[in-house]
């Protein structure tokens, strides 16, 4: 027990003392913040410029051959409709720069749903402003017969749906029910992206720097592997704690800046559902799935002679963890599908698939339990293989150990 504690402490401190650990951890929220900020500022600036330009665009000619454009709408924009006979002449004026733009709504508009815009320059902002103007004139003209401005706005922009769902005759929380278990899916990927790889590098680096034989003299392989696993779990908890702190800080900063945080799809933090059974299954899938992948990574590092080769082999596990995203709609909506069933129990895909299905609750208690049992069996196998590979392969410095030597007596 004491040696386990020593290994955990050593491995944990070795990882968190690395500058790269903190660079990666700090870089992620910083990059997200930077991208968000720049795109917000950039989009706002573009929108503002287009609006400014749209105000100034008065030298625009409009020809309506379709009969769908309303004269009053055109006039309200400070423009007028020209005669269809002037098309060629106005086009020449645009070409020579005397007129800024010409919008032609053809008589085939209704059938082809196409119209033309001629511009005196290829300035993208101006292009956006004029096409926006042309689109606005057409839509407003078409919606005008509806009557009030509110109805026109409703027809143009639609309305937000508020979904009320019932379960067993009672009103249910709808999407709010999926938020908490859904966070476990996000957490799994954070852990997978940041932590599972530590097992790979921790073992393969020990092989590469030849410290393994000295270590194995003083501690047995099982304790060493378990110590490393527990240290990686601690590292992961540190990361999760750090990201949670950053999220809370971001929330308060946004609030202090007067921005209300609107969550998508009608998600309401006050109405989140904390179902203990669902959470227990999600937590179990997360932990067992993590340990299973960590076991596979350790075995890979122990079997292969170098970090480079170990990294190449480990790609299989990364692919396995991301495959479910190609089937996400099927996983969420078609639980009876044989493919869904297969990937629920296939070791490399089972953690993510089970987490997703548990989130939307499309697994029976029996199926959820079977998935957990299967995953646990594979986790035990992966750790057993890892310890065995570690015992047999950790001192093979120049070649991969064979399956015969891995599973033989």
């Amino acid at each position: 027990m004491d040696k386990l504690r020593i290994v955990i402490k050593h491995e944990y401190m070795t990882i968190i003392k690395q500058p790269s650990f903190w660079i990666v951890m700090l870089a992620m929220p910083l990059i997200i913040g930077l991208v968000y900020g720049l795109s917000y500022l950039g989009n706002k600036s573009s929108e503002d410029r287009i609006k400014e330009l749209a105000k100034d665009i008065k030298n625009v000619a409009i020809i309506d051959k379709s009969g769908l454009v309303n004269k009053a709408v055109v006039q309200s924009n400070g423009l007028k409709i020209s005669s269809a006979d002037q098309t060629a002449e106005l086009r020449e004026q645009v070409q020579s720069g005397k007129t800024e733009a010409l919008i032609v709504y053809p008589d085939t508009l209704q059938k082809d749903r196409k119209y033309s815009v001629y511009l005196a320059s290829d300035d993208l902002t101006k292009m956006g402003a004029v096409t926006g103007l042309a689109d606005g004139i057409l839509k407003t003209s078409l919606f005008l017969p509806l009557g009030s401005a509110e109805i026109i706005a409703l027809a143009q922009n639609g309305a937000e749906s508020q979904v009320i769902t019932y379960k067993n005759g009672q009103e249910s929380a709808g999407l709010n029910e999926y938020v908490v278990p859904g966070l476990f899916v996000v957490l799994f990927y954070i852990i997978f992206a940041f932590s599972v790889g530590y097992m790979l590098t921790s073992v393969s680096e020990e092989k590469e720097n030849r410290s393994m034989e000295m270590v194995l003299t003083y501690i047995n392989p099982r304790n060493l592997i378990i110590g490393k696993l527990l240290a990686v779990i601690l590292v992961t908890l540190t990361q999760v704690f750090f990201f949670a702190l950053m999220a809370i800080a971001a929330y308060f900063v946004m609030q202090s800046l007067g921005n209300s945080i609107s969550l998508p799809a009608g998600i309401d933090l006050q109405k989140l559902v904390f179902n203990p059974v669902t959470i227990a299954f999600s937590a179990a899938y997360l932990i067992v799935g993590f340990l299973m992948f960590a076991g596979f990574m350790t075995a890979t590092a122990a079997i292969t002679p170098s970090t480079k080769e170990a990294n190449s082999f480990s790609a299989v596990f990364y692919i396995g963890a991301f495959i479910p995203f190609y089937f996400v709609m099927m996983i969420l909506t078609d639980p009876e599908n044989p493919v869904t069933r297969f990937i629920t129990f296939f070791p490399l895909t089972s953690p993510v698939v089970a987490l997703l299905r548990n989130t939307v609750g499309n697994m029976s208690l029996l199926e959820a339990s079977l998935a957990l049992i299967t995953m646990t069996v594979f986790m035990v196998i992966s750790i057993w293989v890892a310890i065995r590979a570690f015992s047999r392969g950790s001192l093979e410095y120049s070649s991969r150990i064979s399956l015969g030597s891995l599973f033989g007596k």
Binding site: K3, I6, V7, H10, M13, T14, Q18, E205, E206, N209, R210, S211, E213, M214, V215, L216, T217, Y218, I219, N220, N223, L395, Y397, G404, S405, G408
Partner: protein, 246 residues
């Protein structure tokens, strides 16, 4: 008669189809330097790994201090393997303290020993330097420190002077001398026969997993009618089919 520190009896080791060691038996007593010799692939490292429980013997008994070695007895043993290295991303002091703790010392004991050792070998100013920034010779001194931390009863040194300059070689051999005088048994693996002549009390020469010579340095020379261990070694390896002297 005192109990030997190491006792190996009829030890056989096969890995896969290959027989690595065939019926090896020998003892090592406290306070003696025992040279384990043999060409590459003769079974020396496999014997040591089996003695330390890293490999499981096919048959036979391998005892340290009267029992099969487990990592729980880590403090009894110091091992400097041929393929050696340390955590390159850790500092010298952190690395030494970690191994000291793994060997069963308290953190304070490990720290105290490490500081004194680094001072003795002229690395006091490198205590907080990362291992990867040390020269090969400096790293080797740290590795020896890791092996002897805790004052082991049995010190196993596999080519300890490989790559060391004469000054550091003398320093290392002086440290080994001190440990031996303090009662530790030393298994010394080397290809340098002058070191064997200078240091070893007894020796064993392995060829193809079998003992081909075993006894005190003088007795082995007498048995092979040679003036030097190097000649004995060469004659054993030049034999087409050897006689098992072990």
């Amino acid at each position: 008669m005192t109990k030997p520190i190491v006792s190996i009896t009829d030890f056989h080791l096969s890995i896969g189809e290959k027989q690595i060691v065939k019926g090896l038996s020998f003892d090592i007593n406290a306070g003696e330097v025992f040279a384990l010799l043999g060409a590459n692939g003769s079974g020396k490292t496999s014997t040591i790994r089996s003695l330390l429980g890293i490999y499981k013997p096919t048959s036979g008994t391998l005892h340290i201090d009267g029992k099969r070695y487990t990592p729980e007895q880590a403090r009894t043993v110091g091992y400097l393997p041929e393929e050696r290295g340390l955590y390159t991303r850790s500092t010298v002091l952190d690395s030494m303290v970690y191994f000291g703790e793994l060997k069963g010392l308290s953190r304070d004991e490990a720290h105290e020993f490490s500081v004194a050792y680094l001072d003795r070998v002229g690395l006091a100013d490198k205590a907080n330097t990362k291992i990867k920034k040390l020269s090969g010779g400096q790293q080797q001194k740290v590795q020896l420190g890791v092996a002897i931390i805790g004052g082991p009863k049995l010190l196993i040194l596999d080519e300890p002077t490989k790559g060391l300059d004469p000054v550091n070689r003398k320093l290392l051999l002086d440290i080994v001398d001190e440990l031996q005088k303090g009662g530790a048994a030393v298994i010394y693996i080397t290809h340098l026969m002058e070191e064997v002549e200078r240091l070893a009390d007894r020796l064993l020469i392995l060829k193809d997993g079998k003992a081909r010579a075993y006894g005190s340095v003088a007795a082995v020379k007498k048995e092979f009618k040679s003036n030097s261990i190097e000649d004995v070694f060469v004659s054993i390896y030049n034999e087409k089919s050897g006689v098992n002297h072990g």
